[in-house]
């Protein structure tokens, strides 16, 4: 492990329903090191363990064995809220990433205050509101005029963009993208993916992204992982990744 390491997974195992007929060993001895500035796309068949991997990093699932460290801190047993200091996440379902009954401003306020919720000061602040307006105006989606709209009245695409902004507002050490464009129509999906890439570049974020779309996996990021049957089958980066083509990936899937 080097100083540049953001996330380090060492011998991580995850077994579902141990000891029953349905026992499934989903993550098998995963060793993964993510460096500062890495943008990793993760692909793999259904059931290969992509989501389990992401959930284990996020804290939704706790690893059964092995250790997970982020920025030098052992977070193996930490719950989701405890990890939010370093990690933020955009969910696949736009409804999951935002609180529908709260306004756009309130949602953003929760995201920006992620380290101080146990606090009895006013959540509304003029300077924060202006900051939110600025950030949203850059997106050119008109969201800056909808700060007082409840999130549930936004379209799926707008709501997912809001989730993305919430996840990146306080510049996390690691951003988890959980097939975050899969629930959107093709055009919106492409626009959100482009925007995602732009935000990542601008803030030099470190990213772990699950995707079902081969072309996105190839087009974005500097590293590519392929999971198969709970193991990392392919782990390429740099030039090697750049030279990959969709046909290569299809071959890997078949092998």
């Amino acid at each position: 492990m080097n100083n540049n390491s953001v996330l380090n997974m060492d011998g991580v195992q995850k077994v579902f329903f141990p000891g029953t007929a349905n026992q499934r060993h989903i993550l098998k001895n995963i060793n993964l090191n993510i460096n500062q500035g890495d943008f990793i796309s993760v692909i793999g068949n259904n059931g290969a363990g992509k989501s389990t991997l992401l959930n284990t990093v996020a804290g939704t699932l706790i690893a059964d064995a092995g250790t997970i460290e982020i920025a030098g801190n052992d977070i193996t047993k930490k719950p989701v809220a405890g990890r939010s200091k370093w990690i933020s996440r955009v969910f696949q379902d736009p409804k999951l990433g935002t609180a529908g009954d709260l306004t756009v401003e309130q949602n953003l306020s929760i995201a920006i205050n992620r380290k101080r919720h146990f606090n009895l000061t006013w959540f509304k602040s003029k300077s924060e509101r202006n900051h939110f307006k600025e950030v949203l105006a850059k997106l050119d989606m008109g969201l800056e005029n909808r700060l007082d709209t409840q999130a549930k009245y936004l379209s799926g695409g707008q709501r997912q963009v809001l989730s993305l902004i919430m996840a990146t507002l306080s510049k996390p050490n690691l951003l988890l993208l959980d097939e975050h464009t899969a629930a959107l129509d093709p055009k919106t999906s492409e626009a959100v993916m482009k925007l995602t890439n732009q935000i990542i570049k601008e803030n030099n974020l470190t990213v772990l992204m699950i995707t079902h779309k081969m072309e996105d996996a190839l087009k974005y990021g500097n590293r590519l992982l392929m999971l198969q049957d709970g193991e990392i089958k392919v782990n390429v980066s740099g030039d090697e990744k750049q030279q990959l083509e969709e046909s290569d990936l299809m071959e890997m899937f078949e092998s």
């Binding site: 719950p79 969910f91 529908g100 709260l102 929760i110 995201a111 992620r114 919720h117 959540f123």
Partner: protein
């Protein structure tokens, strides 16, 4: 008669506010109410019988309710007991606790001065109740409103609305849920405390049906005031409780026997659950027809052109 209804409604309003916090903000059906309401009553009356002042006794009654809420909250969040069952467990346990606090099934207050009778005798008993109810309602609503404007208050609301998102944004959701349970049941116990002082006694059976009364008040309040601003929503709870009491008072006056009040409460609750749904459907249908009719006439115009 109407004055009595209003006075009664005001002291029952804290039950509605408490139920609103768990049912509407945390999105949890909490049955602890059935135990925390008589707990507030029992603790307050017992302390007063033992010589404490009404003010102290009422505050301790409120705090006792908070503790009951914390217990349900711990069962729900830390032991992962389903919330409905967690409430039932606390409520059942509280029956014994309430018996121990009172020492008997019915504890009369005696001659001790209550929060109401502390007021000058020139006011009649209804006026005294109204003054006390209004003053405490102002304090409680103001405190809750301020709380829900803070970062922590917003975190509680977010937790009730989307706990996944809340946890992902660093909110310790368990704590927020427990806090919500505590404040909610504190308010409910406060209501029990005031009702017992008003009645002049505390009774082991006075909690039966409180959750139905509370829910009915919440829903009635929300029929009248549809704002999503927190202040108006809280005020709606007071209004809901008052309207509900007025309905009961009217029912009693037209000759419904006290034995039938529980089934009347149930019917009222069913009506206030169903009516807004039907209203919504009718309204949606009307808007749809209007829109479709608009399309038709629009088409004709284009043909004419």
């Amino acid at each position: 008669m109407i004055i009595t209804g209003i006075a009664q409604g005001l002291i029952w309003a804290f039950l509605a506010i408490g139920v609103f916090i768990t049912f509407r903000i945390l999105d949890i059906p909490d049955l602890t109410a059935e135990g925390s309401f008589p707990l507030g009553a029992a603790v307050t009356i017992k302390l007063m019988v033992d010589g404490q002042s009404a003010v102290v006794a009422t505050i301790v009654g409120f705090l006792a309710g908070c503790i009951a809420g914390i217990i349900t909250g711990l069962l729900d969040t830390k032991l992962h007991v389903p919330s409905l069952l967690a409430g039932i467990l606390t409520m059942t346990g509280l029956y014994s606790i309430n018996m121990h606090v009172m020492g008997r099934a019915n504890l009369p207050l005696g001659m001790q001065k209550t929060l109401m009778t502390m007021l000058p005798d020139s006011l009649d008993s209804n006026a005294q109740t109204i003054v006390v109810g209004v003053l405490i309602a102002i304090v409680v609503i103001a405190l809750l409103w301020v709380f829900f404007q803070t970062k922590m208050g917003l975190a509680v609301r977010a937790t009730g609305n989307n706990s996944m998102m809340s946890a992902a944004n660093g909110i310790k959701t368990d704590r927020m849920v427990i806090l919500g349970y505590a404040v909610s049941n504190g308010c409910i116990a406060l209501s029990g405390s005031l009702v017992a002082q008003n009645n002049g006694f505390s009774d082991i059976g006075m909690g039966i049906g409180t959750i139905v009364i509370g829910l009915a008040s919440v829903l009635i309040g929300q029929i009248f005031i549809r704002s999503r601003g927190m202040l108006w929503q809280l005020i709606a709870m007071v209004l809901g409780a008052v309207v509900y009491r007025l309905l009961l008072t009217i029912a009693m006056n037209v000759g419904v026997s006290p034995d039938d009040l529980k089934i009347l409460s149930t019917i009222v609750l069913i009506i206030v659950i169903v009516v807004p749904m039907i209203q919504g459907k009718i309204n949606e249908k009307r808007q749809l027809n209007k829109y479709l009719a608009g399309l038709d006439s629009g088409e004709k115009e284009t043909i004419n052109e």
